[in-house]
């Protein structure tokens, strides 16, 4: 049976035998950094465009939280399925969504993933196996549980994963999802993105007992991880995935991190103590991974330049794209009976571990 020490904090001080990097090649470690750099660069660019009036509505980012989505998604196989939330752009990047499509999406252009039907990070490219979120949180926990339920019923070695924030755990759907997943022992990974604040509400006003401690009450393990260590996030998710596909049931992973920007671009986060922000700035996930990768002799500056250039080109392409045709606003409410069935498809799964697996070990459909 799979893994040990899943109840133990995984972080920089974990013994070498369990060290996350044991499962990561240099390419993986660079890839993790590259994906985080893309997420950060795309969001920075989008923020600029927002300030220039090119992004309608509101804008949300995951600045300072890049490791939570990138690290976890890196452990997902092509056939696994994800419900991605608004501070998890890195998931889309790892699964293969192009920066130009993301920027088009923010700007409400025809070439965006939803062709302007939904805004900002409320998208999921079904061609990469991702389901677009709704604003009511944490509704997507149930959808992820449902996908896992189907995998289990069909006897498939696949899992589902979703993120949700500390605030959303106060709502009933959190309980229903945790309970359902525990009762049916589903192959689902719930990542609690604890970034200390839900809009202006700090966690001490949100719950009396940290949700990760309550996982046992639902019948499965809860693990706390340094959410700003992308390799630790990867490892925790990898372990949870192993548990899931071997029939060991769900895992709740608490990714401890900090929301470094406001709730949205419209929020100046005056309510957050400055000292707290500074403390977390020292732990910036991109800086930390850059340092690691530099030590391996990789030219991080060149990588940053490459990412920057790609995002610039993507922005140019996105800005040139047309807005959606108003005449189409009432189209496509119902899928026609005789049209082809549309289902979630496989996404990119860049982890070296998947290609190194023997064919028999590869996740089956």
């Amino acid at each position: 049976m799979a893994t040990s020490s899943t109840d133990v904090q995984i972080g920089p001080n974990t013994p070498a035998r369990e060290h996350p990097a044991a499962h990561l090649t240099t390419d993986d470690r660079v890839g993790l950094l590259r994906a985080m750099l893309f997420m950060r660069a795309i969001e920075e660019r989008a923020m600029n465009l927002y300030r220039q009036g090119k992004v309608p509505g509101s804008f949300y980012d995951g600045f300072g939280q890049e490791a939570v989505s990138v690290g976890a998604t890196w452990a997902m196989a092509a056939a696994d399925r994800l419900c991605v939330l608004h501070r998890d752009l890195g998931a889309h990047v790892v699964r293969g969504v192009q920066p130009a499509a993301i920027l088009s999406q923010y700007m409400g252009r025809e070439a965006g993933i939803t062709s302007g039907r939904d805004g900002n990070v409320h998208f999921g490219d079904h061609r990469t196996g991702c389901v677009g979120m709704v604003s009511m949180l944490p509704d997507m926990m149930l959808v992820a549980a449902g996908m896992a339920m189907a995998f289990k019923l069909r006897g498939e070695q696949r899992c589902a994963l979703t993120w949700f924030g500390d605030g959303s755990t106060s709502r009933g759907d959190f309980h229903e999802a945790m309970n359902w997943a525990g009762v049916q022992q589903l192959p689902v990974i719930f990542i609690l993105e604890n970034n200390q604040f839900a809009y202006s509400t700090p966690i001490k006003q949100q719950f009396a007992v940290n949700p990760v401690e309550r996982a046992a009450a639902y019948g499965f393990p809860g693990v706390s991880v340094d959410g700003n260590d992308v390799e630790a996030m990867f490892e925790a998710t990898r372990v949870a995935r192993e548990r899931a596909i071997c029939g060991g049931g769900p895992t709740l992973i608490e990714a401890a991190t900090m929301r470094m920007h406001g709730h949205g671009a419209h929020d100046d986060m005056k309510y957050v103590p400055k000292a707290l922000v500074e403390e977390w700035r020292e732990k910036d996930p991109v800086d930390r991974q850059s340092a690691r990768v530099k030590e391996l002799g990789v030219d991080v500056d060149a990588l940053r330049k490459e990412v920057r250039a790609a995002v610039d080109a993507a922005a140019k392409k996105a800005l040139a794209g047309p807005m959606p045709d108003p005449a189409t606003a009432t189209d496509r409410l119902f899928h026609p009976r005789d049209a082809e069935e549309i289902l979630l498809q496989d996404g990119t799964a860049p982890w070296s571990g998947f290609s190194l697996m023997r064919p028999a070990d590869r996740p089956s459909r």
Partner: protein, 321 residues
């Protein structure tokens, strides 16, 4: 063709689809081991197993939300809300997750949600509701409400095969009181209206249990020729059938068992007023339950739900106009 009850027809339809398509999965409270609160799924767990006839936790939001997840990876879940009234516990998942997914993300959600609805048996406020209007008002959901055994089977089959979320209103007072000839095997009833009785002096437009009330009320009314139009499908609403009936009859009574304000009939009335104005020979009249929770004690309930007598009197008045 076999004569069977409305309830048995629904079972038949479900069984048909479960046998034909192993992607179909039933989910609900007490539907497996117990066979369902109303015995619609009696015998199913023995034939199909506990995996496909799933006894879920008491969690309406969970039932709908997990069904959405299962649907987008290729299953065809049919959810049961034990009583239509409990659907409000899963409202958010239906309205915001299931209903809007395709429009926003291009990902269709093939789920069916069965709601045993309606009153007339002292069920009281929480076991007698007709909540279809909530779902008609929410874009991205189809809503159907068969009134005969034949349509009950054909529509549950069609609902399961429709790639979009379908709210299927099964009126529980019709379960054992309505019988009819039902074809064997597989067939689908289209999401369109049906003329329950032809006529041309006046048309009663309605659906669900009220179709039977309307037929009884107008069977022999001073020799008048009264059409009864059974809508069967609320979203999509069969506008053509409605306008054609009004063109022929020019006098319209719309009957809702649901509470009057913003019931399905209100939408029909607005449609008629706007698009059939020149065909009208009298005001568009509605008969519905007043805007109160459905009471428990029999004399109170009978005073609230539209009765045969109330419908008959409304028709008589309009015929005389």
């Amino acid at each position: 063709m076999t004569e069977m009850t409305y309830l048995r027809a629904i079972s038949d339809g479900l069984r048909n689809e479960m046998r034909d398509d192993d992607r179909v999965l039933l989910m609900g409270e007490d539907i497996g081991v117990y066979g369902g609160a109303f015995k619609v799924t009696d015998g199913f767990i023995e034939e199909f197993g506990a995996d496909r006839v799933m006894d879920t936790p008491l969690a309406e939001s969970g039932i709908v939300g997990t069904a959405v997840g299962a649907a987008v990876v290729g299953l065809r879940p049919v959810c049961e809300m034990q009583f239509a009234d409990f659907v409000s516990c899963g409202f958010d998942q239906i309205i915001n997750v299931a209903g809007k997914m395709y429009y926003r993300q291009g990902l269709p959600v093939n789920i069916t949600i069965r709601l045993p609805s309606g009153g007339g048996f002292s069920g009281g406020p929480f076991h007698s509701q007709n909540p279809e209007a909530w779902f008609m008002h929410s874009p991205g959901l189809k809503v159907v409400a068969p009134s005969t055994a034949e349509d009950a089977k054909g529509m549950i089959i069609a609902s399961i095969r429709d790639p979009n979320p379908v709210i299927y209103m099964e009126h529980k007072n019709l379960y054992r009181h309505v019988k009819g000839e039902v074809p064997e095997g597989s067939y689908e009833t289209p999401f369109r209206a049906r003329v329950a009785r032809e006529g041309n002096d006046l048309v009663v437009i309605t659906y669900g249990a009220m179709v039977h009330t309307a037929l009884e009320a107008t069977a022999d009314l001073d020799g008048a020729s009264i059409m009864v139009l059974d809508l069967r499908s609320l979203v999509p609403l069969d506008e053509e059938a409605i306008l054609s009936a009004v063109h022929d009859c020019s006098k319209v009574i719309i009957v809702d068992e649901a509470n009057q304000t913003c019931a399905a009939g209100a939408q029909v009335a607005a449609l008629v007023a706007e698009r059939a104005f020149e065909d009208l020979d009298g005001p568009v009249v509605r008969v519905a339950s007043p805007d109160v929770p459905i009471p428990f004690s029999p004399p109170l309930e009978a005073a609230v739900l539209p009765s045969v007598e109330r419908v008959r009197e409304a028709c008589r008045q309009l015929l005389e106009y």
